[in-house]
């Protein structure tokens, strides 16, 4: 399936992009992370298990076992620091 991935704040700067469209291999948010980590470098460093980041699907924060749907908007961002 196709998904749109958006990045924010420190992760957007680390990855050098704000968004991209991807053909997802697999079905869950965790599968997407695995696919991104396969790029190596900062992708592995920032998205490895235990690293502080959040995943939102269609603008709701989700657990990593969440099953994605075609054309989902998946956001990956650091813990929030507003207020």
């Amino acid at each position: 399936m196709r998904v749109r991935v958006v990045y924010f704040a420190r992760l957007r700067e680390c990855f050098g992009m704000a968004e991209e469209n991807l053909e997802l291999i697999g079905t869950t948010a965790a599968d997407l992370l695995e696919q991104l980590q396969a790029r190596g470098g900062v992708w592995v460093e920032e998205l490895a298990a235990g690293r502080p980041f959040r995943v939102a699907v269609n603008q709701e924060i989700v657990a990593l076992d969440t099953v994605l749907t075609d054309n989902a908007e998946v956001a990956i961002f650091p813990p929030v620091t507003g207020g």
Binding site: V6, F8, A9, R10, P52, A56, Q59, E60, I61, A75, F77, P78, P79, V80, T81, G82, G83
Partner: protein, 160 residues
């Protein structure tokens, strides 16, 4: 103008670049009604010091769309938990200088207890759930602000 205004019943939620006026917001809440017994408010300001170094400015980034959804969700949770007559929540984005107001929460209720509690709950929830990020400009360069464990602790006490 980067303003996004939502009027859902008696809730006003705005994400904007412009400054806001606490007095004007509070007056607007109570104008023309006599059932409100208490209005509590919180204003968060940009500080000139953080983590031991001087901060010359900060830039607030957000996730348009999700931000408004998240803010609406946490205000609705407050309304479900306490009897509230009105809530105003304004959060600024863009570049801010020390002393500038960042966020405003104002809560109207019949009595102070509910207004105080709901105002604090909304701020604690916002700090951990609303997709805003701060980047500071310091004399050592730019740096993203890290999330604080104390914010998680503050938010978690409301789940008890």
């Amino acid at each position: 103008m980067n303003a996004d205004l939502m009027k859902l019943g008696l809730i006003k939620i705005v994400v904007q670049t412009e400054a806001f006026d606490l007095g004007a917001e509070v007056n607007a809440m109570s104008h023309g009604r006599t059932d409100i017994g208490a209005i509590t408010s919180f204003v968060g300001l940009a500080r000139d010091m953080n983590e031991g170094s001087g901060v010359q400015a900060m830039t607030l980034e957000h996730y348009p769309g999700m931000t408004e959804k998240a803010l609406t969700a946490l205000v609705n949770e407050a309304k479900a938990r306490w009897t509230l007559l009105d809530v105003t929540l304004i959060h600024r984005v863009g570049r801010l200088l020390p002393g500038d107001p960042i966020v405003l929460v104002a809560v109207a209720s019949s009595h102070r207890g509910e207004a105080f509690a709901a105002c604090e709950f909304i701020m604690d929830a916002l700090k951990t759930r609303a997709p805003f990020w701060k980047k500071e400009e310091t004399s050592e360069g730019e740096r993203w602000v890290d999330a604080r464990v104390s914010d998680d602790t503050a938010a978690a006490r409301w789940t008890k």
